[in-house]
Symmetry: C2
Subunit: 344 residues, 2 copies
């Protein structure tokens, strides 16, 4: 298996990317292709004390880099030689099995859609992060790729998330819920009411397992495996978790820094505090899958360090092993019986 990695994307590129890739190659036995400026990659290697490429790591040269300010919609035209575009072309042409980038989310979404293409019948690719819960995790789909959604998009997201949960996470009959502002069927706006009806029909057809509406506060309760949302409210949910977790971690730190005695308490609890902080830490989770694209594409966090990149490689490998595309085509086809596909 060959995992293509955008060596130039993210706040800590290329150093952190190169280091994470090397770790992943050694640990998971993956064949890694670092796509980017050869010279910069070699410099990162020598900073790590390496004068040759380690076993399992290759370099594919790409002279340009996508900038965060670039218009996402046009990068494949304006930055044809960028590490992101070159890497995605290699993926489309079969020179790798999955692609990882910590670069611009919008550019990755747009370029992956144009170069690698969506699975037939899929209207929109969607970002699908894993949210850590009490005893496991829940997938959130979409979390920002599509600010504006139709009920049909949401029904398709349910299928995308369900298949990922089954094929990659090994959950047998993943429970799908619709993010809403109350449990009752009548809750939400027109989008949620229509999506609710489509999701129930999809459940009747056996395409997904729909368990109803879910309020945002219940996302940690392990009652649901896939949370379906439009990209706007999904993004609000995800970033509120991030903000609240960081706010509370900060308070916890203050709590322990109050006095010599509380500092002692911190020493006693240090194992627990580490676990507490890492629970909602993106570096453990890896990246966010971009589902609906015909081959696995992983969006790593912009501030990814080597550990985050290593986790993203593991995630990409799991996605390749899961092999979602065929199942996805079949079920999207089944879904179209209740949700007539129109050209949009």
């Amino acid at each position: 298996m060959r995992i293509l990695i955008d060596a130039m994307g993210g706040d800590h590129a290329p150093e952190a990317i190169v280091r994470g890739a090397i770790d992943a190659a050694a640990e998971f036995g993956a064949q890694i292709v670092l796509v980017g400026r050869g010279e910069a990659i070699l410099k990162s290697l020598s900073a790590l004390g390496l004068d040759t490429l380690p076993k399992g790591v290759e370099v594919a040269n790409a002279d340009d880099v996508v900038d965060m300010c670039d218009d996402p919609a046009t990068v494949i035209r304006t930055r044809p030689d960028s590490s992101m575009v070159v890497g995605l072309r290699m993926l489309a042409e079969g020179a790798g099995d999955a692609f990882i980038s910590a670069g611009s989310t919008g550019a990755l979404l747009s370029a992956a859609t144009l170069i690698v293409k969506r699975v037939k019948g899929v209207r929109r690719a969607a970002l699908c992060p894993e949210i850590p819960t009490k005893n496991g995790s829940a997938l959130l789909i979409d979390c920002g790729a599509n600010a504006e959604c139709t009920p049909e998009f949401l029904a398709q997201f349910a299928v995308l998330g369900s298949i990922y949960a089954q094929k990659v996470q090994g959950k047998e009959r993943p429970r799908v819920a619709l993010l809403n502002i109350g449990a009752e069927e009548s809750k939400g706006g027109a989008l949620q009411k229509e999506a609710f009806s489509l999701l129930r029909q999809a459940d009747d057809l056996g395409v997904i397992r729909f368990v109803g509406n879910m309020e945002a506060r219940d996302v940690f309760q392990d009652t649901v495996d896939v949370v379906v949302a439009d990209g706007f409210s999904g993004n609000v949910l995800l970033k509120t978790i991030e903000g609240t977790a960081s706010f509370m971690s900060g308070m916890l730190k203050e709590l322990f820094l109050r006095s010599a005695l509380t500092k002692l308490a911190a020493v006693i609890c240090r194992g627990g505090i580490r676990a507490f902080k890492s629970k909602l830490d993106y570096r453990e989770v890896g990246g966010t899958m971009l589902l609906g694209i015909s081959k696995p594409v992983v969006k790593a966090h912009g501030s990814s360090d080597a550990r985050a990149i290593r986790s993203a490689v593991r995630q990409a490998m799991e996605a390749v092993n899961g092999g979602m595309a065929d199942e996805l085509r079949t079920r999207i086809q089944a879904l179209s019986q209740i949700s007539p596909t129109k050209d949009k």
Copy 2:
């Protein structure tokens, strides 16, 4: 000043309501009118060891109670003798200066709109909770009263929140931000893009002080005083904070229960832990203002205890003292220059 309280609304009514009302009367010197079933209220009093009404507390009889299952839109017709409807009638007729209820949010919103009426020109009343931040708080408007919003509604919410922040919270030039999925002007769906333009125009006119888009993760940073959102995503934000805070508090508890030593650490840190837990505790904040109604109406949390009711009374008194209605009429009028009012 006379504060009307729905004695029968909420999970712990009437006991917790009566107790909170008595505490508030004693502490804040408010004149309280408990609206509800006289017999049940007297029983709650005697459970507190009181055989007469304490100074500053009156009872207004109402034989019926709004049920959580009642259709919110029709309670004023189906439950004319309920504590909520009777209390709101008293408010409309001038028998009190503010009304507090821990009963059904939908029913309160609908009945307050129909009985007490919105301020002239205000399209929709909105729920406006205070979110505790690092060094203060931020208002979130709307958080669920209006699942479906127009850009004009959002611009009006900005005015409602700004005036509350000024008149009641004493913030001189409150900073208003639009909840969005990125900082750039081009972010979000059509609703956000159009709202952004209206908010900027309102800033140009001096009606509000607009500081741009804000991502959900930044709500705790004290950079903003009023966060404007449609009721759906505002509700997602609020409930995600609630869920994440409760999830993390649970983890913290586990952390301290691990061993005899960590239990000792918990004793050392108990003051800090209390502060940590109470930071995101609704009982400290009081209730959620229902802004846009011509007189102050406070929605207390459904699971309000006596402390929460006491806080809600303080909040209602502050709102009465603030006297928003005149200023609101003036500024909504000014806003209509850029956002032509249509009958909807």
